[in-house]
């Protein structure tokens, strides 16, 4: 026996109160006058003894009352050995796999039927629980003996598009064993896909007190073709430059020539045969896509002729728009515009269209229509342009600043206001780029800068700026600053070939391409997602309280009103196209496809399954003795409180009786 709050036992000291009242403070009998003691005899022994006996009863009641009160507040508990194992009861968990692969044939129907059959053998002392699992486990009922409720739960199971994970199932079984304090007998109703096993076998270990009974819904592997993936640009600007590549997967000893079709907005726009090797992959490429402007729903289909047509298509979304305008501001004629224009027009998707202007002209232009602005060694910036640039950046615009001699004369970086000094004035030799922040989106594909020679460069005080590249003398050459909602990239040299030879190197084009996409915020999100992935709804820049509407593939609202205004992310649970409507009218169309591991119907070998089952049985055998003696703390303070109540009533009755006797005697 123990106590959950043992410090309340200090209240036992209050027992001293009745001790003081009854023993230390001697009760004095009130003398009663009587006319004559002529007929009385002295028998003090018996009468005093009688009195003490009665008062001791009251004392005992009072002391017990206080002691039990302190006892109850200390929350006593006993280690009950009445655990389920001792009673012979088990928690029978019926785990039904409803992953994407269970859509094949009548696998899910078979699994549900098997689960119903397993439920009929539930013993009276057992409790049952129904759960479904794919990438996550969902409890459909509480541990109970309600057979009808569990049957209804099994009937309600629907297939999903998610990927099954036996690691998640094992985790759920382990958790149930811990929480229920009962031996768990898991019954798995699944197609036993090899791909459902985690990479680390230890993640699927069943743990203590868990046994697993397997009910395979499929006995053999299945020949299957599937569109494994589609690589397509998220946005297209030039229909001739569109390149779409589809990967066709063959599993289960499947192989052969299959027809692959490209479908756009429900209309087939191209097809070609693909020879898929046995248990191998083949690719089909489609060049050029005459997609209409706006959001387009793309799909790659194959005529598989296999037993699982659900994975014979793959969704992708594609958005067509005009190239984004970029404003190139320069103060004097040089080759920087030539180099920059050539580089940006050579980029992968021709997403940008360059416009040049002088500072004076730029001051008259509306900057908000440009994806970003480039300031190429601009020294004298009109006040109106400076103010417009600051407002533009704070509102979310982006600025690329190349520092040359003219710009360095201002001693401050435009908008950023970081200090500048000419660091290469007194040196005679060039510097090379020594370190490059490859984790930054603007530089992670920039290639090798080591051959680039920087003859003249300027030192910008980093301050709060993030340094993305440094020269060999540790001078920062590429820096970034977040200003308001916007971004400012500072290149501490010029874009012509005078201060450095960077434009002449192969790394210049990727550098311009990456920085342009970064500054224009074009590649923030992936083109396609898999079922079960989470979609980030808010980046923190959206106005508070603004609703983000999400429509699922069936066209229904996927979020409640509250979630639409507050949720920061949501899980994608169905395959198809999700339409996301943001408050700034930047609508998106997101294609979601099932995890293609579900298309591999290779069954787990029996040896592996036996080994998996043993991860529970072996440990259970070791724990068998301990399970019998496992003790569960049983808090029984309320019983003590009932006893306290009874004692209080008894104390009142006895006390009143004594009081009545004394009053009558008086």
């Amino acid at each position: 026996m123990g106590f959950l709050a043992p410090w309340f036992l200090a209240g036992l000291a209050a027992v001293g109160l009745p001790v003081w009242l009854h023993l230390l403070k001697q009760h004095k009998t009130t003398p009663l006058p009587f006319s004559s003691l002529m007929f009385f005899e002295r028998r003090t022994q018996s009468s005093v003894k009688h009195r003490r006996l009665r008062y001791l009863l009251l004392f005992t009641l009072r002391a017990a009352l206080i002691a039990l009160l302190a006892f109850a507040f200390a929350r006593p508990f006993i280690n009950s050995t009445i655990v389920a194992s001792a009673r012979g009861g088990k928690l029978r968990v019926l785990a039904v796999d409803n992953s994407f692969s269970m859509r094949q044939g009548n696998r899910l129907v078979q699994a549900k039927s098997d689960a119903q059959a397993a439920l009929s053998t539930l013993r009276p002392e057992d409790r049952g629980l129904v759960l479904t699992f794919a990438s996550q486990a969902h409890l459909l009922s509480e541990p109970s003996t309600d057979i009808a409720g569990m049957r209804a739960a099994i009937r309600s199971i629907q297939p999903s598009d998610d990927h099954s994970s036996y690691a998640e199932l094992a985790h759920a079984l382990r958790s149930l064993a811990l929480s229920s304090k009962m031996p768990v007998e898991g019954h798995l109703f699944s197609d036993m896909q090899q791909t459902s096993m985690p990479l680390s076998f230890a993640d699927a270990a069943l743990g203590d007190n868990v046994t697993l009974v397997l009910h395979p819904a499929a006995q053999a592997s299945l020949r299957n073709f599937a569109v494994e993936s589609v690589t397509a640009p998220r946005r297209i600007y030039d229909v001739k430059k569109v390149h779409i590549q589809a990967t066709i997967l063959a599993t289960g000893d499947a192989g052969g020539t299959r027809r692959v079709a490209l479908v756009l907005n429900g209309h087939e726009v191209g097809s070609k045969p693909v020879d898929v090797p046995v248990n191998g992959r083949a690719t089909a490429e489609f060049n050029g896509l005459d997609a209409p402007y706006g959001m387009n729903r793309g799909e790659v289909r194959i005529d598989s002729g296999d037993g699982f047509p659900a994975d014979d298509h793959y969704y992708f979304s594609i958005e067509r728009s005009d190239p984004l305008p970029v404003l190139f501001v320069r103060a004097r004629e040089s080759r920087d515009l030539l180099y920059y224009r050539t580089a940006i027009e050579s980029s992968r998707d021709a997403a940008f269209k360059l416009e040049s202007a002088s500072p004076a002209q730029a001051a008259e232009m509306p900057l908000s229509r440009y994806a970003f602005v480039v300031l190429s060694d601009v020294g004298d910036i009109p006040a109106t342009l400076d103010q417009a640039l600051r407002s533009y950046v704070r509102a979310g615009g982006s600025l690329f600043v190349a520092i040359g001699p003219a710009a360095a004369a201002r001693r401050k970086v435009p908008v950023s206001d970081a200090a500048i000094r000419d660091a290469s004035r007194d040196i005679d030799q060039f510097q090379t780029a020594a370190t490059l922040d490859s984790a930054h989106p603007a530089t992670h594909q920039a290639g090798n800068w080591s051959d680039v020679k920087f003859f003249r460069y300027f030192s910008v005080e980093p301050g709060t700026l993030r340094v993305l590249a440094r020269l060999s003398d540790r001078t920062p050459v590429l820096l970034e600053q977040q200003t308001g909602e916007g971004r400012v990239l500072v290149f501490a040299s010029t874009l012509d070939s005078i201060s450095n030879d960077f434009p002449l190197h192969s790394g210049f084009v990727p550098f311009v391409d990456e920085t342009a996409h970064y500054l224009a915020r074009l590649d923030d999100r992936p083109a396609n997602l898999t079922v079960g992935a989470f979609l980030d709804l808010r980046s923190g820049r959206e106005p508070s309280g603004a609703a983000i509407e999400v429509f699922d593939p069936t066209g229904a609202r996927a979020l409640t009103l509250s979630e639409a205004t507050q949720a920061r992310s949501m899980q994608l649970t169905e395959q198809g196209f999700y339409e996301i409507r943001r408050p700034n009218r930047h609508n998106e169309l997101l294609a979601v496809n099932p995890d293609r591991r579900e298309s591999d119907f290779t069954v787990i070998p029996q040896e592996t399954l036996a080994l998996w089952q043993n991860t529970g049985q072996g440990s259970r055998a070791q724990q068998a003795g301990a399970a019998e003696t496992e003790q569960k703390p049983l808090d029984f303070w309320w019983y003590v409180m009932i006893l306290v109540l009874i004692l209080a009533v008894a104390e009142s009755l006895v006390g009143n009786w004594h009081l009545a006797v004394d009053k009558e005697a008086a």
């Binding site: 006319s35 004559s36 004594h658 006797v661």
Partner: protein
């Protein structure tokens, strides 16, 4: 109907002893008290044959004229007897389990008897005693005697302990002529001692009546728990158990009452137990009925 007003507790609410006595006596007692002697009154009793020496004034000449025989005509005598009340005011008489203690009850009885005596033109006197004679009002029929008696009774306060020997020795000096002696006491003394002490009064030709005044709690005490009893006279204390009070004490007090009554009657004295829990008139009615029966 009157009975209701003769409850001791009700009488205690009355303002003065005279009113108490008048309430008790006027209700039913008046006229019941008669002299046992023949005397001069208007009420015929019997004829008796003349014997030499009889007073010729009592010869009924009308009968002699008709029968030529001399008969004496005898009338029921309403003699003026002398009543002397001995009121015990020892401390034990102050005990009472209700609003009326024994001394109050005894005072009501004494006052009633005084009033009754006054109504019959009898001389009444009073001796208040505890361990000694505390107050003495000589028997008299003078005007204002009743109020002197009532005043003395009202002034009687509980005194010390009871000692029959000493005051009764003094009583002998006060009794000049024979009469009726009424003793009101709780008689906490051995019956032999009591009778032996009072007996001389009887020898001198007095009718002696003992009114044994006891509280109901003294006759049949009730006690639910042990208690410490303190003697109001001696201040001695004793722890008493309920069992004793329930079983042994009643036997002892009964034996005491029985012994006192038996010995008193054996000595020619009347004995009446006056339970203060009973209505006042009940005790007096019983007493007067007995007295009448003896006439």
């Amino acid at each position: 109907m009157l009975q209701r007003f003769l409850d001791p507790a009700t009488l205690a609410g009355l303002s003065g002893l005279d009113l108490v006595a008048k309430t008790v006596v006027d209700g039913f007692v008046s006229g019941l008290h008669r002299s046992p002697d023949f005397g001069f009154s208007q009420e015929f009793a019997e004829y008796r044959a003349y014997t030499p020496g009889d007073d010729l004034r009592h010869v009924d000449w009308n009968v002699y004229a008709r029968t030529e025989r001399c008969y004496l005509k005898r009338y029921r005598g309403e003699t003026n007897t002398q009543l002397l009340i001995l009121l015990d005011t020892s401390a034990s008489m102050s005990y009472g389990s209700s609003t009326v203690n024994k001394l109050d009850y005894a005072r009501y009885v004494a006052a009633s008897l005084c009033y009754l005596s006054h109504e019959q033109r009898d001389a009444a006197g009073l001796i208040i005693f505890d361990a000694d004679v505390v107050n003495y009002v000589a028997p008299s029929t003078r005007q204002g005697q009743l109020f002197r008696l009532l005043h003395a009774i009202e002034k009687a306060e509980p005194g010390t302990r009871t000692d029959f020997t000493k005051p009764f020795a003094h009583f002998q000096n006060f009794l000049k002529r024979r009469g009726l002696v009424v003793v009101l006491s709780d008689f906490y003394e051995q019956p032999e001692t009591i009778v032996k002490t009072i007996e001389p009064l009887r020898f001198r030709g007095n009718d002696v009546v003992l009114f044994h005044v006891l509280d109901p709690q003294e006759i049949a005490p009730r006690l639910r728990g042990p208690a410490l009893f303190v003697d109001v006279e001696t201040r001695d204390s004793i722890e008493v158990s309920p069992e004793y009070v329930k079983e042994e004490y009643p036997r002892k007090i009964e034996a005491h009452i029985e012994a006192l009554g038996t010995r008193a009657r054996a000595a020619g004295m009347d004995y009446f137990l006056m339970n203060t829990g009973r209505p006042l008139d009940e005790g007096l009615r019983e007493y007067l009925a007995v007295r009448q029966g003896r006439m």
